[in-house]
Subunit: 277 residues, 2 copies
Amino acid sequence: METVSENACFGGVQGVYRHSAQSTGCDMTFGLFMPPQAKRGPVPLLWYLSGLTCTHENAMTKANAQAHAAQHGLAVVFPDTSPRGEGVADDAAYDLGQGAGFYVNATEAPWAPHFRMWDYISEDLTRVLMANFALDEARQGITGHSMGGHGALTLAMHLPERFASVSAFSPIANPTASDWGRKQFGAYLGSDETLWARHDSTLLMREKGFKGEVLVDQGNSDQFLDLLRPEALSEAMAARRQPGVFRMQPGYDHSYFFVSTFMGDHIAFHAEAMSGE
Amino acid sequence: METVSENACFGGVQGVYRHSAQSTGCDMTFGLFMPPQAKRGPVPLLWYLSGLTCTHENAMTKANAQAHAAQHGLAVVFPDTSPRGEGVADDAAYDLGQGAGFYVNATEAPWAPHFRMWDYISEDLTRVLMANFALDEARQGITGHSMGGHGALTLAMHLPERFASVSAFSPIANPTASDWGRKQFGAYLGSDETLWARHDSTLLMREKGFKGEVLVDQGNSDQFLDLLRPEALSEAMAARRQPGVFRMQPGYDHSYFFVSTFMGDHIAFHAEAMSGE
């Protein structure tokens, strides 16, 4: 693992690091905020998964996470959203290929060799983080925005032993029924739609739900409401009697101005859930 | 004035607007955060002047200002750092021309026709803001980062009737003795160095100081300490017995991770100064 940069921030350190990942077969870059409390021992870790077109950097600079993470003593990791590099397949569209990994393991050409973001997050990056930083592996939470909200919810429901808490900002909530999902699952996973279901938060919520509370924020002025389908997830949460809160926030859109506004609530939510284990 | 965008943010509105400015002879873009309290009547206004290479956008998305502005009921304006456009002079260097206006009125060719950022901030933009938004003209404060800290300090010391409070993050503190200053003042103002003095915070502090308290934050791991010359300003503040605080923050560098860390302190400082009028 190589250190790209480290900046003092809210008494802790905002770092950027690069490592070679087996899953994606390329170098991967991530941001990690370590709070001041980490100087005294391992701290809980919150994963923040980003949305379409983002790198590790967007949320790290725009999401207002570090102030609250320092207050609550959480580390926050900001992974990239796809494999990248010259040998990695790509597409001219913003919503397929590099910057649009969708947190799945691709099985189809030309994506299969590198687009294994599910394994990257749940295996490679987890291993790198635990080996190199003062993090408490037993206390992890996960959140994300848009495509990253989809990733957070699906990873948490499949790996409940790993994540004590899950939340999402305007997640792609029902990708098997949306153009943000059908296109990508078709490309990455092939035409058998039964294989898509394990990557759809609404379907997973109907099937298994999450062991702890779930927090979802959605702006009602979001320009992508038709693609996100929050109503499907909200219905599934209520039908399952899933403990948690689905908040429809009046006037907010899909931007980081929305994410940053409610980041404090999400970090407090995760801090409480992780301390309560 | 034209609305470029408006996003809900911390219960208020983060807007971006464009207008034609007489001083700079071109269209200018600025960001403005209006807090939720503005729905009930005019609110105080904090100016945030940005540094070299920045547009209106950098601090608006990275400085962590809106959370604290909403808490204290302040508006925050994020002006651009220079005139821009095809007919506007420029230079290949990052620290001269577009993105590097230095908050002066240029008198020399080729800069004089457009590079009048002093007048733009103190006249044109002030007029546009007061005419179009629920702002209390009698309660204004000013801050900024690096070149913008220089702008904030020099504007406040020259216009004490305008600004109730001033602060700065790692300001270019003594530009007449620095390569961040001598090069630009020579280009914009000509070779008569006596004309440069009114744009040097350290010299102004020696000559007149500021009527209220002054807050300055500087990181001691700043990669530009030699160019910023904080020791000159600190000495001048102490020699003048200027009420205020100069804080040397251990471990912090010149980045927005530094600015965002201490933004809450600065906004609280301005809110208190403006409410105490």
